[in-house]
Subunit: 138 residues, 6 copies
């Protein structure tokens, strides 16, 4: 999108929703739906800004973005809901379960063992739902 | 209170409890009760210090204090129990549901989307209990 | 802005810059300029998203937004650069020095004394630059 | 261990497990087991590095280490699972329930009331399971 | 102090200042002085509440309180000013330089290597000022 | 390394130092040196554990590890010293300046604009020292 392309707020939402569906699948949509009666604008910003404006930029691949996201969410802590979405997203864009687990293990160096354990227990839940356990390292 | 007013620890507790009842209602009292067998002094400090000494200072209105509090608790993360109390408190001192939701949305700029989503889901629960959903923006 | 208003990326930037100038003044612009050779898109998002999309929403007054922002930045810690901008912004939109100090004091209840001290030392610097020290409580 | 002692990865694990069993008891082992199908290396690092390398150093007593650990976990927030393990550990290495509660109360000064409340509610659960409630201050 | 002892705000300040002087020495007083023109009440709360009410409770020894404090401040991050005060305090109440360094090393397990490095560099500065470098482990 | 390979503490240090030199270059060594009189064991753990045990695992490429690390350090905040090392490391293992900036921009979605600005200002400093400014997006 050049700086002169004209868009409406609705256009930006629809573009974002197409990116969200590709990356996060159903789990992302469920959060946006949950926000609709309490903060529809926050739902809009998740879709139109986070996915439409930021995720779709070509400067970093979707796989690379999920590695950064896993690092941020693990470090923040208390983001189990969002980690669930983004462990799913990580698998959707091509990271293997072993790579996801290793990214969380690697985080332990920088944000400590408890945050890494908490994030790994979320990954365990998602891997279990997708019948990917036990992970293999090959 | 001037610097020379004499008070007892019990006086300060009773003064704080009257402020807590006005601002937080039952939800605040439940936390103080839950602490009574494990850390009665922490319960005392919540009442006598947080509410008695700090909340009752005239330099900032109760409504303004809740805006600051919502910002702090959203940014901290992992404070769902306390946010529940303070979303209730915010409504008790005159903030509308729309203003509460907007304060949490605004926080997203500074502490990120996941913290704002987590706080908004607590607000959704409180608004639901008080039959205030869906929020209106008027 | 309705969901059907057409805008360009450039329009959104210009709208955001007019809000930023009104709220943050020169200090905000200096940060955007500092980002221009390293992350022009981050500078764009500060202007077009944070100020253009979020700050200009009528659901919360500029004064109320600064109270929330002071709470978030104090709680996050390590945001001295941003607190400098937003203590200035708080004064620009009508908060008094006494109210700013009180908001930071109030934060201590929720995020602890050290974060409140750090934020207050930034406020001291800004108040000094604007010749507002010592603050009066009247 | 001198810098020239030869060890295998397995030796380091077994040494760590003997420290973990002494300090954390069953609760620590349960977390390591939960990690085994998702991140066996994280489980290994908890045992071999955290307990084998770090906990067993003589420079600080086990009781002192738990005081530091309680402070860190309370401040981090969102570490309820780990606090459960370490409140148990604190009692195992000689801290009294009153000392544990006081350490969490003391943390409130530095990281705020909500983090102290959250940690105290975990302590309440552990004290209850060990039939130590109400705590006595003698 | 029983719950019926009468005190004035001034009494509580003076009691707190005597504790602060014993624990923190000059470094603590300097922070209180720095706050006097911007937030005299925050300075008052540091003295009367943090030191007068909390530090002086007999349930935990001053040495134990500093171990908890070092853990909390290391985990919070961005508290270099406060860590400077409390590394000094830790030495004042009987912790050795080796024990302080070990407490910060131990924190790395729970809050990660960067926070531990940052805190250790503050300790290095304080140890240097007190001519305690290099630390000895005996 | 299999679980039966025998190593000494010195072996593990030397292995780690060879990884550290390859990834972090001089900046990493300077931090280890700075720790030598205050916490030699923390310096040892940075080298032998973080680099020797964790960084050298084949489950994730060095480039991928830096993406995770940038995410974690940006989210933590207050890690300017460590971000300086790891922005350098990121460039050393093949990330372009544009990819580094984009990773920090992406983090803003999850941990907010101020953390992203702070990290980007560190990247600006490193890029300047390496004569990589202004960054190009090609």
């Amino acid at each position: 999108m050049t700086t002169n392309t004209t868009t409406t707020k609705q256009d930006r939402y629809e573009h974002g929703m197409s990116v969200l569906d590709r990356v996060d699948g159903e789990a992302g949509r469920r959060i946006v739906d949950a926000l609709s009666d309490t903060s529809p604008e926050l739902g809009h910003q998740v879709v139109a800004w986070a996915f439409g404006d930021m995720y779709s930029r070509p400067e970093l691949s979707p796989r690379d973005r999920q590695l950064v996201t896993l690092g941020v969410l693990t470090a923040l802590g208390g983001c189990e809901i969002e980690l669930d979405v983004h462990v799913n997203a990580a698998l959707n864009v091509g990271l293997t379960p072993s790579e996801v687990s290793e990214a969380l293990l690697h985080s332990a160096v920088y944000c400590g063992i408890p945050r890494a354990i908490n994030a790994t227990l979320v990954a365990k839940k998602v891997f279990g739902e997708r019948e990917l356990l036990p992970i293999s390292n090959v």
